[in-house]
Amino acid sequence: MADREPVLKVENLTITYDTEKGPLHTVRNVSLQIAPGEIYGLVGESGSGKTTFARGVVRYLPSNGKITTGRISLSGTDLATLSHKQIRKVWGSRVTMVHQDPNASINPSMLIGDQIAEAMRVHLGLNKKQAGQKAIEMLNKVRMPDPELVARRYAHQLSGGMLQRVLIATAMATNPEFMIMDEPTTALDVTTEAVILDLIRELMSEYNTAILFITHNLGVIARICDRIGVLYAGELMEEGPIHEVFRNRLHPYTRGLLGCVPRVDASKKSITLSSIPGFIPRPNQLPPGCIFAPRCDLVEEACQLERPPLVEIGPSHLSSCRRVDCLRTRTKEVEQAREERIEELGPVVLEARNIKKYFPFSGGLTALVRGKKSVKAVDDISIRMRSSFTLGIVGESGCGKTTLARCIAGLEEATSGEIDLEGEHLDYSVSRREPAVLKKIQMVFQNPDASLNPQLPAGYSVARPLTLLRNMSKKQVQERVKELFAAVSLPPDYIDRLPHELSGGEKQRVAIARAFAADPVLMICDEPISSLDVSVQASLMNLLAELQGTAGTAYLFISHDLAAVRHLSDWIAVVYLGRLWEIGSAEDVFVPPYHPYTEALLSAIPIPDPDIEQDRIRLKGSVPSALNVPPGCRFHTRCPRKIGAVCETEEPPWREMEGGHRICCHIPIDELKTLQGGGLLKKAGQGGNR
């Protein structure tokens, strides 16, 4: 591929934003090339300038952003010098873009078919009929079921995965030379993500388009890209072919990023995740030497004196680290081994039996016409939790995992079922629970921006549970707040700060401190890390594991990120359409036999190692509506291992195995074992050892 003339050639690109505080050089001296048919993965934490770079390359910057130096050539056309009128002709025909949020990228009042046709009418000069024909063809190309039908639908009638296909079809329609994909799968479920990634891969080999693929997810890069560039604070740190970079990781930043990602084959019991201390520097506060030096564990004095250039260190492999030789000899595994904890079953903390939560579906006239219906968000789930124990709940979005957690917390009143906390019966509603009970269940929420009151200082949020639930005196409270801030590794002067002065990870630390202030026996973590950067995720997971070790709190950990759940959980429960399908210890759930749904989830996890080959089990369609739950086994509509009519009519039985591992499926355990064989992960070639 490298011998072909590159489609895109960027040389020393610097992009500057004019701000009130003066010019900000957000991207500096970045050079790269992308060949036809090549997918170039650009990875980095948020704030590293990925999106700015991509937009700068096609001159699609906001009005205060401009290209200060550098050349951009797209098959010989110098994009940097084109007039505004000329560049408009390039956009949409020679260069296209796929955005992150499909809902925001598609005009909701326009038919899907017209939308795809629009680009072709403008840029290819097709008439309405031809373009309409071609649109259906494109929908067919992106493997859309019933393309004629979909073309006559509106955006709200399609699922997120289907919309993303429409966006890809629109972007491909004009047969562009170069395409930018900005986090195209981040908003999707793992199962859908896997399907879309497969599709992109297939289309690329067919179309020969050069792709710049932006993502923060190293697993996605490993699955789909040919080459990778690691961007940090606006500069390239390492670049090279995908296998080369993932095997050798010849920059400390790359190494750090990879070390942050939890692995599917190890848990908190055996390893602590590595994390990168500190923050990405702002473009106006860059250190004089290597920009990564302040966060690097290999730093020496010479690193801080001069900015090291990007040099070739292997076949088309570039790194800007001065200490590459040191990295070569150093072992790859930076994770620290942890002493295996001796497992001792603690006392039962929470017992929830047959929890059901039905939401009434639209009252008023609709109910009169259609009869009363309800959304069965949680339909008969029972769980039991012990102290110092983490139960992970996984499932696609809309499967009811958050509703279950909110029922236990009392924020949502369960429709029926029993909740016992330490043997005491709990009321459904939080407003009718006694203060003594309230302090025992606390929650850490998903969105760090909404979890702290923007008008109150961080310390107040942490102090309030102490005064309210633990009746501490003012002095005790002050002491304890300081201790709690120290426990979540925040400096004491953060106590007086307002939330907008904190980063996302720091806000989440304050939220964790607030939850721990009540000294709970059960803590519900509802996707606490999913909106954060990998390095921050890793440090928060370490923090949660550490706090559990000292406080003995039980965690109910909800996430759609299976690797994170695997890392933190002792037991894992798999939920689909409001019901449990498999429950067992983390080790058991991740090896065969597993429930066909678990199997599909696991095979969809993007693993940050291009040398691993996963079995490809892909689910068709999207989760059925919880209004019309399929009869029999609820998973039969999408199950790749459906055995026949029995799946559609009868509810499957629970099958129990050693160690309490249970699966709810019509297929007997032994048969599942033979079907699923040795597991999903296979090593290809002789890569590095994992």
Partner: protein, 292 residues
């Protein structure tokens, strides 16, 4: 006690920052300046006025602007300039008090209605809809006919008419805020509803309320002027601007200034308040939230 100086300097910093932001945008700056000037006039108008506002000089009726009467004189030979200066107090006090009334009750209703939800919310909001569905001027006239026109009654009417608007804006903000996770965290630790409303929700409503209040204020000025024009507001011989415009109807073919200056004063004040509320929105709600 030891914290005092630090807090003071922090306050001073905040005020400095506020003024820096004020200056960075000319429209906002102009708006605030206009409002400040009118406030100054309202406070010191009677002392600045060259003549008593009731002093008649029938030999000098309907005189055009001159050195003695820079805005001219009206049908009784009264100095229009003096009347406008003195009248500004009436406008600002009546419209201002009406706004305060509307904001106070609107805030209370909006807070409780939004937070409680259910039937309470349903009933309150439908009542608000009923009030909103009647044209405000018509409703104001009906009420003032039955109560009789007076300064206090105009304040009550303006307050009453604008309660629904304020309540709706506050309610919609509360509906959003009450699902925020910090409110849920407060519920999880068993805070009372009063605490949650006062400490967790109210401070986050205030920016929206400030913007809404300033908008209500500009509408109130209009309404007060309209009522004055129709003779339902403050009664003669008070130098109410709306009243002055109303009285000038008969004369303005001979003497345009009789209409021009009071009408101009209303327009400038409304534009100034409008700029100010626009500026407040940009400063307090940078996300660009709808004005309800």
């Amino acid at each position: 006690m030891q914290k005092q100086p630090q807090e003071n300097s922090e306050n001073r910093m905040a005020i400095k920052k506020f003024f820096r932001r004020l200056r960075s945008n000319p429209t906002i700056f102009i708006g605030f300046m206009i409002v400040l000037i009118f406030l100054f006039i309202a406070a010191f108008g009677p002392f600045l006025a060259p003549y008593p506002y009731t002093q008649q000089n029938l030999s000098e009726r309907l005189q055009p602007p001159s050195d003695d009467n820079i805005f001219g004189t009206d049908q009784f030979g009264r100095d229009i300039y003096s009347r406008i200066l003195v009248g500004s107090r009436d406008v600002l006090v009546v419209a201002g008090s009406g706004t305060v009334l509307a904001v106070f009750f609107g805030l209370l209703l909006g807070l409780f209605s939004g937070y409680r939800g259910g039937y309470f919310d349903e009933v309150v909001m439908r009542v608000m809809d009923v009030i909103l569905s009647i044209p405000p001027l018509l409703l104001a006239m009906v009420i003032l006919f039955s109560l009789g026109p007076s300064r206090v009654n105009v304040i009550i009417v303006v307050g009453f008419l604008y309660i629904p608007m304020v309540a709706r804006v506050v309610r919609s903000v509360v509906l959003d805020l009450k699902t925020r996770q910090y409110v849920e965290a407060a519920r999880l630790r068993g805070e009372t509803s009063a605490y949650i409303l006062y400490k967790e929700i109210l401070p986050n409503v205030l920016p929206h309320l400030a913007v809404e209040s300033s908008m209500r204020f500009s509408y109130s000025i209009f309404l007060v002027a309209s009522l004055g024009f129709l003779g339902l507001g403050v009664q003669p011989p008070s130098p109410d601007w709306g009243l002055m415009v109303g009285e000038s109807r008969t004369w303005f073919h001979q003497a345009r200034w009789v209409l021009f200056f009071p009408a101009g004063a209303i327009a400038i004040l409304v534009v100034g308040v409008g700029f100010m509320s626009d500026g407040l929105r940009r400063m307090l709600l940078p996300g660009g939230v709808s004005d309800g």
